[in-house]
Symmetry: C2
Subunit: 163 residues, 2 copies
């Protein structure tokens, strides 16, 4: 095995994301009851021009696993990103958007260019994801259009980097 390589220059501006983040979030949608969860998000890298993304949530009280998702964040031009994600529910998201860096952190604004799924997955037609890193706090919001509903807020969470 070799040690952890340096960040690729094309993802250097995303360096503050790299690591494991833990915290809590809540979800709502017109078709379901609202819920709360604890969460772990990891952004990893292997020295290539992308970040690996993994997410797991657990029920806030029972600790039973709820959701998971995994994928890759890939810069494609200055301040532009693509994000591809797979879900155990059979959903696949392809998103594109922007990254803004400033002295306090960074903001990723992403919207889906396609959402596909397996034959048994529910219908999701659009997803919007925003990540905001300010100082040491990573917060995010996810909106989606699904099961006939228009684009509607779905998830929000606040995470701190795990040491």
């Amino acid at each position: 095995m070799i040690g952890q390589p340096d960040l690729h220059t094309l993802v250097a501006h995303l360096g503050p994301l790299v690591g494991t983040w833990r915290g809590a979030g809540s979800g709502s949608y017109p078709t379901i009851e609202s819920f709360s969860y604890v969460e772990e998000v990891t952004f990893g890298h292997v020295g290539k021009p992308f970040l690996a993304y993994g997410q797991k949530t657990r029920h806030a009280e029972t600790s039973l696993p709820l959701h998971a998702e995994s994928g890759y964040l890939r810069p494609v031009a200055a301040n532009r990103l693509e994000f591809v994600l797979a879900h155990p529910t059979g959903i696949l998201e392809s998103l594109t958007g922007t990254v803004e860096t400033n002295s306090r952190g960074l903001v990723l604004d992403l919207h889906s260019t396609s959402v596909t799924g397996t034959a048994t997955s529910v219908s999701v037609t659009a997803v919007v994801r925003r990540f905001e890193l300010v100082a040491d706090v990573l917060s995010y919001k996810v909106a989606m259009a699904a099961v006939g509903e228009p684009l509607t807020h779905h998830l929000a969470g606040t995470l701190h980097k795990s040491t």
Copy 2:
């Protein structure tokens, strides 16, 4: 934290896959030079009715990272599976197929129902994946139709479970 839960009954027949597998493989395609790699594949679970899949390859000689992919394997009926996968190249695969279990192991035969990608990803139009577990050896083959070529063998590897 809670300990490792039992396998969900809907993935019990896939139990022999769960763990970390290491080995080597080789790749070829009409449009590229053939190549060899070392590989690590992980099938994980959290007690829910799916397996998480992660894969990483490195150059056989230099140990530099080559490919990665991640996703989820989800049984949808007796002997039927779906498999969703994201790639750092911007490709997203949705596959469906069968699992056969026998006294020596199991065989997964999967073919894509859709392959999508980001605006900057290469064109892949079909993928066929076969996993075969015989005793303690996991082998796989991947064929794909891409960049204008018909469905053609692309990857083969042989892995052993890491202890």
